[in-house]
């Protein structure tokens, strides 16, 4: 019997349909499967209702999910690394769930998209289906991509209601270009970014367009759903920190770009009816504030956020910004109440 304890009888076995060991072929059919520690290459999950538990220490190149209701429960220190046309983890089906155990990495080793030429390639985790969730164990799970570490996008505009939860997202030094590089892209409608951390400024001569961006993945002409990309999306309890006290333990400089970039923002064809709530943005004194101002970002709301940045808070005429602590408001648009301007004197950040 394979499915028992060492030196014990056949008891307490988990009710798996199959067990796969290093060198085997990961099952992709419907059922409940176990995959032991090993290296497994590229896999496509095309069959609905395939549920797989993985032990810690499994490695892959890229993984593509085209089926629906697939559950991949990865163990600790899972590694995905690839330059794939589908993204390193690409989810094209609906209602799938992927969990990554602690210290897992999902790394896209390719190049960023060209401006106006969006594709799934260049992203660590990209979702182009609907109702999917990707969740990390904690911020030791790291997604990396030269375009976006995380992205929800579909060229036909049909993807919606996807969630990224609890992981680190980072772009790549000396990669990226204007409008095509961000730690996370919320391009598909109703995307939720929950407790995602980002603390790498991708220093170098190329742009990191935004930290967390509600908007298209490759600028104008690359919409998920025409202008107004990512409408109804939410950035909840997220965390950006480029100061010396971030989890990397050292300060990180933002890549070059205009002061309009490097923000937690809805800009450049970003959608309406979006929210950012309970989020930190500590740039370590660099430019990179809160922006909800594009001609399409109407009826949006910022509530309960804190930013240290000298790049000020901007909102559109139909937006509201309440109970935020920011350097200064950049305009008087919309409804702005109970915000505190620390005016560069955010004393509490001295050791932050």
């Amino acid at each position: 019997m394979a499915d028992n304890f060492i030196n014990k009888g056949a008891n307490h076995a988990m009710p798996y349909n199959s067990v796969t060991y290093n060198g085997g072929t990961v099952p992709t059919g419907a059922g409940y499967h176990l995959v032991k520690r090993g290296s497994y290459g590229s896999i496509t999950f095309a069959t609905d209702k395939c549920i797989v538990d993985f032990d810690g220490g499994c490695s892959f190149s890229n993984i593509r999910i085209t089926g629906d209701q697939v559950v991949l429960n990865f163990g600790p220190k899972t590694e995905l690394s690839a330059d794939s046309a589908y993204g390193t983890l690409g989810i094209e089906g609906d209602r799938n769930y992927v969990y990554f155990g602690p210290k897992s990495t999902i790394t896209d080793t390719g190049s960023s998209n060209g401006r106006g030429s969006p594709s799934l390639q260049g992203h660590g985790i990209i979702i182009s289906g609907s109702y999917n969730t990707v969740e990390g164990a904690n911020w030791t799970v790291r997604a990396t991509g030269p375009s976006g570490a995380l992205a929800a996008y579909n060229s036909g505009g049909s993807a919606e209601h996807n969630t990224f939860k609890t992981m680190e997202a980072r772009t790549v030094s000396n990669k990226g270009a204007y409008a095509v590089a961000s730690a996370a892209f919320l391009s598909a409608p109703h995307t939720t970014l929950y407790n995602v951390g980002t603390w790498f400024g991708a220093p170098g001569s190329h742009y990191m367009h935004q930290w967390l961006k509600i908007g298209p993945i490759a600028g104008d002409g690359s919409p998920s759903n025409s202008n107004g990309n990512g409408y109804g999306s939410r950035i909840l309890y997220c965390y950006g920190d480029l100061s010396g006290n971030n989890p990397d333990g050292s300060a990180s400089t933002l890549s070059s770009g205009s002061s309009g970039n490097n923000s937690f923002s809805v800009t450049n064809y970003g959608g309406p009816q979006v929210q950012m709530i309970g989020t930190y943005c500590d740039t370590g004194g660099q430019n990179g504030g809160f922006i909800m101002q594009s001609s399409y970002a109407h009826n949006s709301n910022m509530f309960g956020n804190i930013s240290d940045s000298a790049s000020n808070m901007q909102i559109g005429t139909t937006c509201t910004a309440n109970a935020n602590i920011i350097d200064n408001p950049d305009n008087t648009n919309g409804t702005q109440t109970n915000n505190v301007a620390h005016s560069g004197n955010m004393t509490a950040l001295t050791n932050d």
Partner: protein, 341 residues
């Protein structure tokens, strides 16, 4: 043929990258010292010794009806770099407590979270972390942060980046003595409450389900001094929690850390403040502070201390009195509806 599981046992586990299953049974003390394991604790298990996780990056799933009778320690008492990045997830009814007969003479905890990046995920109110009072001793249901408030000095390397969610925490009156003091949750930071800790504390219930009453019966929230939840750690998000009555013991939510974001909580209002805010750059918004008539009506629901600079207290509903005590500087205090609910 290799096997898919290693059987869990009392004592030390040093395995790495393994799948360890604890079958239903009774266990003494357990220490998980290895890294990268997938660990399953089967339904009906009992741990009568302390359950310690000193290894890193393990995923531990606790199935239904599991008791930890002598507490859980994630990490080490004095080093936040031990027991890093573990995810502990409860699927069903889980009970974590301590044996009062084994309390030390100072401060006692049921759940100690000291390793960086720990993710403690309960299953809702079926996951209960409970301490009972003992005369002349301090009881805390949960502490985050090494060198907890047991008299040891804090340094500049606090525990950081943890998640605490979906769990109920209680310190209960044993029927004879309320003890020296109590906290339901104590979140430590550095000595100045300044360094960003980055915790997310959400969807928890702090306190028993007992209603507010002039008398306290066995099994209800104790009246010992201290308070409900105290947050010294800076840059912590405390959102969507519920803090029940803490009787006469103190403030329900005491915010001493800087840059703490406190949103969308329900806070009871005992004989002291519902929320007492002292850190700089705090946001306290969208909260409901409710009052029960069982206690004095003279205490205000929210107090903002003079040490708080550039904070936001807005959009809250506060019961009882019709004003907020505000001694802070450069803050925005407004759009709060106050008075009897």
């Amino acid at each position: 043929m290799s096997k898919i599981n290693i059987e869990g046992h009392s004592g030390l586990h040093r395995e790495e990258y393994e799948r360890i299953v604890f079958p239903r049974g009774n266990y003494a003390a357990v220490e998980i010292a290895g890294d990268y394991n997938v660990i399953v604790i089967n339904a009906g298990s009992r741990f009568d010794g302390k359950f310690v996780v000193s290894g890193d990056y393990n995923k531990i799933t606790i199935h239904n009806d599991v008791n930890f009778n002598n507490g859980i320690l994630i990490g080490a008492d004095a080093d936040a770099s031990v027991g890093v990045g573990n995810h502990i997830k409860c699927l069903g009814k889980t009970f974590i407590t301590r044996d009062p007969n084994q309390y030390n003479d100072h401060t006692n905890y049921a759940l100690q979270i000291n390793g960086h990046y720990t993710h403690w995920e309960g299953s809702g109110m079926n996951t209960k972390v409970v301490m009972q009072t003992v005369a002349s001793k301090i009881a805390m249901a949960c502490v985050i942060g090494k060198k907890a408030s047991d008299g040891a000095s804090l340094d500049d390397s606090p525990t950081q980046w943890c998640i605490l969610e979906k769990t109920q925490f209680m310190v209960l009156y044993d029927g004879s003595n309320h003890g020296t003091s109590k906290y339901l949750l104590y979140v430590n930071g550095d000595a100045g409450s300044d360094i960003a800790c980055g915790h997310l504390i959400t969807n928890n219930w702090f306190g028993s389900l007992g209603e507010y009453d002039a008398s306290v019966n066995t099994g209800q929230d104790t009246t010992a001094g201290g308070g409900g939840v105290i947050i010294d750690g800076a840059t912590t998000r405390f959102v969507e929690n519920h803090v029940q009555p803490v009787y006469t013991g103190g403030t329900n939510l005491y915010l001493n850390g800087r840059r703490v974001i406190t949103l969308f909580n329900q806070l009871a209002h005992g004989s002291s403040f519902g929320a007492d805010i002292h850190g700089d750059n705090n946001i306290f918004a969208g909260n409901l502070i409710y009052w029960n008539d069982g206690k004095s009506t003279s205490t205000k629901p929210i107090n903002i201390g003079s040490g708080s600079d550039r904070s936001v207290i807005a959009g809250n509903r506060g019961g009882n009195t019709s004003s907020i005590t505000d001694n802070s500087t450069n803050s925005s205090v407004g759009n709060n509806e106050l008075g009897a609910l």
